[in-house]
C-alpha cells in the first residue's frame, strides 16, 4: 500500500515536471523543472531498491549534467529568444504523430502486460547488497564496457573543450 502511494507520488511529480519542462517559455524555469523530474526519477529508483543508482542519478545527473545545462544557459544570452515564438510552425502535426505513437505503445503494453504479471517479482534480497553487486558486475563481468565508457568520457571532455574554446 505504501509502495503504491510512493510510486504514484513520484510518478505524478515526474510527469508534471516533464510537461512543464517542455512547455515553459523561460529556459531557466525549464531547467529547474528538469531537476525536479530527475529527482522524481531518483525517488523511483530508490523505491525499486536501486540505492546506488539513486545516488548516482543525484550526483551525476542532477548535480553534474544539470549544472552544466544551467551554466550554458547563463553563458548564452537568451533574452532575445524569450520573446520569439516557442513552438514549431507545424507543431500540431508533430503532436498528432507523437500521440499516435504513444497510443500504439499504450495499446501494446495494455494487451501484453498480463503475461508479465504471471512472472512473480524476485525477492528484494536478490538485489542486496546493492552497491557491492553493482560493483562486482561493473568491474568483473562488464569491465570492457566500463573501460570503453571511460574512453568515451575522455573523448567527450576533449570534444567539449575544443568546441567551446575561443581560439583553438
Amino acid at each position: 500500500m505504501l509502495d503504491l502511494v510512493i510510486f504514484y507520488f513520484f510518478a505524478a511529480l515526474a510527469v508534471v515536471s516533464a510537461v512543464l519542462v517542455v512547455t515553459r517559455r523561460n529556459v531557466v524555469h525549464s531547467a529547474i523543472f528538469l531537476a525536479t523530474a530527475l529527482l522524481a526519477t531518483a525517488g523511483i529508483f530508490l523505491s525499486l531498491r536501486a540505492e546506488f543508482l539513486f545516488i548516482v542519478q543525484i550526483i551525476l545527473y542532477t548535480g553534474g549534467i544539470l549544472v552544466l545545462y544551467v551554466f550554458v544557459i547563463m553563458l548564452v544570452n537568451l533574452d532575445v529568444a524569450l520573446h520569439q515564438v516557442q513552438f514549431n510552425r507545424r507543431w500540431y502535426v508533430a503532436l498528432l504523430l507523437t500521440v499516435l505513437l504513444g497510443a500504439q505503445a499504450f495499446a501494446a503494453i495494455l494487451v501484453s502486460r498480463q503475461s508479465l504479471y504471471t512472472l512473480p517479482p524476485a525477492p528484494a534480497q536478490a538485489l542486496e547488497p546493492n552497491t557491492e553487486l553493482v560493483a562486482w558486475g561493473l568491474f568483473h563481468t562488464y569491465v570492457l564496457p566500463f573501460e570503453i565508457a571511460s574512453v568515451l568520457l575522455l573523448v567527450a571532455m576533449i570534444g567539449g573543450v575544443v568546441m567551446a574554446k575561443k581560439r583553438i
Binding site: H29, E51, F52, I58, G63, G64, V67, V70, M74, N130
Partner: protein
C-alpha cells in the same frame, strides 16, 4: 494512545534527532559566527564583540533580530520565483546532508547503506542554490560571482571525492556508522593511515565552502559579495546559514572519515580507560577558569554571568563524569556511549572548524586562476596518487602480509614525494609565467 506503543515506534529516535538538528542548527550556526569573530579578534590582538550581552554572547541573537526585521528588497527585473527559491535550495541541501552524519552511536537520523555518497550528492545539489541565486539577481556582478563560485565548487568536489574514496578503501563500506565502527575495530583513526588524503580533503573542503583563502567569489574588494550581493535581510541570513551549515557538514565528514567520529582516542584499548574522564576534566578546568575570572570582571552583571557559565560547565562535567564512573549495566552506564560520543564528536568538529578559522586569518586570498590551477593541477593528481598509494598499501598489508606501519609509511612517503614534485613544477611554471609577462610588458 499508550506511551509504550509510541516509544516502540521505530521512527521515533530519528524524528527526535531530526527535530533537534533543525531547531538547534540556526542557533549553533549563529554562535559559530560569534566564535569566529572572537577568534579573529584574538588573532588580531583585540577583543571582538563585547557590548551586546555579557562578553558579546547575545550578539548572534541581536544579528538575527536585525536580519528578520530588515526590509525585503527584490531587484527590479529579477525573476521573483527563482529569487525566492535559490536560498531555499542552498539551506535545504546543507541541512539534508546532516541526516547521515553519526553524532553518536544512536544519534543518527538515517543509517543509509550509501551514507557517505548521499552527503556528497546532496552537497552537489547545493551548487544549484548558488548559480540560481546569482542568475536571479539580474546583475552582472552577481552572475559572475555565481559562475565563479560554482566553477570553484565543482572543481574541488572532484578532489574532495578522491580523498574520500581513498579513506573509503580503508573502511570498506559506505555507511557512515560502519566507517566509525571500522575505525574502532582497527584501533587506528584513518588519518594516521592516509595523512595525505586528510590534507587533500582539508584543502578541498575549505574551497568547497568558499572560505578564505579561497573566497575570491565572495570577497568584498573583488565582486561585492558575489552571488549574495542583491540579497538582504532574511534571504541573506538563509545563505549565510547555508554556508555555515556546509562548514559543519564538511567538518562532520572529515571527522567521521579521518578522525574517528564519535570514538574517544584509543577507543579499543581498555588500558586507556582513564581517558573516559577526560571530557569531565576538561569541562571542570573551564569551570575553574570561569570562577577564577569572576573577581576580575568590572561590572556586577558580568560577575554573575561568569559564575553562571562556570556553574553550567561544572554541571556538564558532572553529567559526563557520572556515566563514566557508574557500574557497568546500569542505566547511567548505558547513556555513556551517547553522551561521551556526542562530546568527542563536537570536540573534533570544533577543532576542525578552528583550523578553518585559523587558516582564514593567516593566509592571503588566492586569485581565481591560481585557485583553479591549484584544484586541477595539484590537488586532483595528489588525490589520485593518494588513492593508488592506499590501494597499494592495502594490497601489501592484506595480500602480501607486510606489517601495517611499513606498507602505509612507504606509500605515504611516495605520495608526499609526488606532491612535492608537483609543487616544484607549479613553482617553475609560475616563475616562467611572471617572466613572460614582464618581457611581454616591456616589448
Amino acid at each position: 494512545m499508550d506511551l509504550n506503543a509510541i516509544l516502540q515506534w521505530p521512527h521515533l529516535v530519528p524524528l527526535i534527532c531530526a527535530l533537534a538538528i533543525v531547531l538547534v542548527l540556526p542557533l549553533v550556526a549563529g554562535y559559530i559566527v560569534l566564535v569566529e569573530r572572537k577568534v579573529m579578534a584574538d588573532m588580531q590582538v583585540r577583543l571582538g564583540p563585547m557590548r551586546v550581552g555579557p562578553h558579546g554572547l547575545l550578539q548572534p541573537i541581536a544579528d538575527a533580530l536585525k536580519l528578520l526585521l530588515k526590509e525585503d528588497i527584490i531587484p527590479e527585473n529579477a525573476d521573483r520565483y527563482i529569487f525566492w527559491l535559490a536560498p531555499l535550495i542552498s539551506v535545504t541541501a546543507a541541512m539534508l546532508a546532516l541526516s547521515t552524519v553519526p553524532i553518536g552511536p544512536v544519534f543518527l537520523i538515517a543509517d543509509l547503506n550509501i551514507g557517505l555518497l548521499f552527503i556528497l550528492g546532496v552537497g552537489a545539489l547545493g551548487i544549484f542554490g548558488i548559480v540560481l541565486g546569482g542568475w536571479a539577481s539580474n546583475s552582472h556582478y552577481s552572475l559572475l560571482g555565481a559562475l565563479r563560485s560554482a566553477a570553484q565548487l565543482v572543481s574541488y568536489e572532484t578532489s574532495a571525492g578522491m580523498a574520500v574514496v581513498g579513506a573509503l578503501l580503508l573502511a570498506g563500506t559506505l555507511s557512515t556508522k560502519a566507517i566509525v565502527e571500522r575505525q574502532a575495530q582497527d584501533g587506528v583513526w584513518f588519518i594516521f593511515a592516509a595523512p595525505v588524503g586528510f590534507f587533500v580533503y582539508l584543502v578541498a573542503s575549505i574551497a568547497e565552502t568558499n572560505r578564505a583563502p579561497f573566497d575570491m567569489p565572495e570577497a568584498e574588494s573583488e565582486l561585492v559579495a558575489g552571488y549574495m550581493t542583491e540579497y538582504s535581510g532574511f534571504r541573506w541570513a538563509l545563505y549565510f546559514l547555508a554556508e555555515y551549515t556546509n562548514m559543519i557538514v564538511v567538518a562532520s565528514i572529515a571527522t567521521t572519515l579521518f578522525l574517528g567520529g564519535y570514538l574517544r582516542p584509543f577507543a579499543g584499548t581498555p588500558l586507556f580507560d582513564f581517558l573516559d574522564y577526560l571530557p569531565a576534566l576538561l569541562l571542570l578546568l573551564v569551570a575553574g577558569y570561569c570562577f577564577y575570572r569572576v573577581p576580575k570582571q568590572p561590572v556586577g552583571v558580568q560577575k554573575g554571568f561568569m559564575a553562571v557559565v562556570g556553574l553550567l560547565c561544572g554541571g556538564m562535567a558532572l553529567l559526563l563524569a557520572l556515566p563514566a564512573a557508574a557500574p557497568a549495566g546500569s542505566l547511567l552506564a548505558g547513556a555513556k556511549p551517547g553522551l561521551h560520543g556526542a562530546f568527542w564528536f563536537v570536540a573534533k568538529v570544533g577543532a576542525y572548524l578552528y583550523v578553518f578559522m585559523w587558516l582564514r586569518f593567516t593566509f592571503p586570498r588566492y586569485r581565481f586562476d591560481q585557485l583553479m590551477r591549484l584544484g586541477w593541477q595539484f590537488l586532483l593528481p595528489v588525490g589520485m596518487v593518494n588513492l593508488a598509494g592506499i590501494a597499494v598499501a592495502l594490497a601489501l598489508h592484506r595480500g602480501l602480509g607486510w606489517g601495517v606501519v611499513p606498507s602505509f609509511a612507504l606509500t605515504t612517503a611516495l605520495t608526499v614525494a609526488v606532491a612535492a614534485y608537483l609543487v616544484w613544477i607549479g613553482e617553475k611554471q609560475e616563475v616562467r609565467k611572471i617572466g613572460e609577462e614582464e618581457t611581454a610588458g616591456n616589448a
